[in-house]
């Protein structure tokens, strides 16, 4: 149905509408521009409250909360460095997210790849510790994050004993078919870097003895490595 023409509207109504529009624009123009305020990361709600709020959809809620946490450093008009975040609260959030959706990779990826990259060794250690703790709860699913944590411990924290602990746990607990050989070989290279060729040789010998290395090229490479370690260990023994 066609509308009536504009002339059907009383002039007073048009005038009043125009005046009110002008008033609205004037009012908004007179208000100060919004300023950015950095907001501190609040503690997460309890797991029970979140389960209740999820209305039976904890996976979706965990995903949306992970996105919110991921974007927390980018607040409207302001950018906060990760290092400025409260890491105690971050850990609480990551724990909560994993509680809602234990099969999600998101919290562990954020811990090991985002929050562990800050130039603050204490905060890095908090995230590595979280990754290690969560790895132990489900090693076959979470092994890749511990492998990354071992690399951070070795190359960024230069804490070889910590890297060795992670690498050895990886070797010991992650036993699924999807675990690549390089992950179980990590302790060998860390031991070598620590100046422990004898221990590295024993680790590598044990790995070769299991027969799990079936690729001929890889077997050849690792056997060569074993022989080098053996000669290095022998030299050390002779020097003593």
């Amino acid at each position: 149905m066609a509308e009536r023409s504009l002339q059907a509207v009383p002039r007073a109504v048009i005038l009043t509408s125009a005046l009110l529009l002008a008033l609205q624009i004037t009012w908004r123009a007179g208000q100060p521009a919004p300023t950015a305020h950095a907001e501190a990361l609040p503690p997460p709600p309890s797991a029970t409250a979140l389960r209740l709020a999820s209305l039976g959809e904890p996976i979706t809620l965990a995903g949306l909360l992970a996105l919110r946490l991921q974007a927390f450093d980018n607040q409207p008009g302001i950018s906060i460095p990760f290092a400025a975040l409260d890491y105690g609260r971050l850990i609480a959030w990551l724990d909560t997210l994993l509680g809602l959706d234990p099969h999600s990779n998101y919290p562990l990826l954020m811990a090991s790849y985002l929050y562990a990259q800050v130039p603050d060794p204490a905060k890095q250690r908090i995230m590595l510790d979280f990754t290690y703790r969560q790895f132990l709860a489900d090693p076959n699913r979470r092994w890749r994050y511990l492998a990354h944590a071992a690399l951070i411990a070795k190359h960024e924290l230069h804490d070889l004993p910590l890297a060795l602990t992670y690498a050895q746990s990886l070797q010991k607990y992650a036993r699924g078919p999807a675990i690549p050989h390089w992950a179980s070989q990590m302790p060998i290279f860390i031991l070598e870097d620590m100046g422990e060729p004898e221990a590295a040789k024993i680790e590598l010998g044990a790995l070769l003895a299991t027969g799990s290395i079936t690729d001929p090229q890889e077997k050849h490479f690792l056997t060569g490595r074993y022989l080098k370690l053996e000669s290095k260990a022998a030299k050390i023994r002779q020097a003593r």
């Binding site: 029970t48 209305l55 039976g56 996976i59 995903g63 992970a66 996105l67 991921q70 999600s104 990826l109």
Partner: protein, 254 residues
């Protein structure tokens, strides 16, 4: 039976001739767009997150659209004195309610099916089929409770609020019960009353959190025996609500 089927057929025709399909398709389009946005935002698990968001959103949208359509249709009919006109013919009140529940139930299931279709692009086949089948059962229950509210209450807003209240409570009641039973203050009188109330409500309401679980889609679970239990629950609940709607219809002054 012919009369019931005739009412159901005209109810379905009315739904087909309204702009309901466009509304459903718009909701699906919007949620799909939002899910792709979420997919782009995520740094890992992007497919999983997109699927979970889309499944949750489409599930809620199908329930909300179906409830709003059913309640507004019934309210308009009662305001126009349509049922009074129909009942002046040789038609028992129970047949009118049964015909409406059948027609509107099928409409709600078609809405649910349209909402479930896009998920077939992202979810594994067997898990998607199980999820869709249980979403159709849920749609049937939402339709039944909406018809009950549409007949029993005056006003679209009141009917819609009660239906949404039922939906939210039925989805969260199991968690509420767990919280209530695990409370440290279990000995106090008020707590015992509240626990009793929740346990009583749990006997009346279906556990909607067990229907169309997002977990099935993202973790590719398809336990066939679960569906028969869900179907039995849906059947019992729809029958109960239908009888309550018939009861109210017989008491209603038209």
């Amino acid at each position: 039976m012919r009369k019931i089927l005739a009412i159901a057929r005209f109810t379905l025709l009315e739904a087909a001739r309204s702009r309901l399909l466009w509304l459903v398709l718009s909701a699906v389009g919007l949620l799909m767009a939002a899910s792709f946005f979420i997919h782009e935002l995520a740094i890992t698990d992007s497919q999983r997150l997109q699927l979970a968001f889309l499944a949750t959103g489409l599930r809620a949208a199908s329930a909300l659209i179906a409830a709003a359509f059913i309640i507004s249709t019934l309210q308009r009919e009662f305001n126009d004195q349509g049922p009074a006109l129909l009942l002046a013919l040789d038609l028992p009140r129970s047949h009118y309610v049964l015909g409406k529940i059948l027609g509107l139930g099928l409409t709600a299931m078609l809405i649910a099916l349209v909402c479930a279709l896009p998920l077939a692009l992202f979810a594994p086949g067997a898990a998607w089929r199980l999820w869709t089948a249980s979403l159709l059962l849920e749609a049937g229950m939402v339709a039944a409770i909406s018809v009950f509210c549409g007949i029993s209450l005056r006003g679209t807003a009141a009917g819609l609020m009660l239906t949404l209240g039922f939906y939210i409570l039925a989805k969260s009641l199991a968690t509420l019960q767990l919280i209530s039973h695990a409370s440290l203050d279990a000995a106090s009188l008020s707590h015992r009353h509240m626990t009793g109330l929740l346990d009583g409500l749990a006997l009346l309401l279906p556990r909607l959190d067990q229907f169309a679980q997002t977990r099935w889609l993202v973790e590719n679970l398809h336990a066939a025996p679960a569906l028969s239990a869900l179907a039995a629950q849906a059947l019992v609940f729809v029958a109960l609500v239908t009888s309550a709607a018939i009861f109210d219809m017989y008491r209603k002054n038209l």
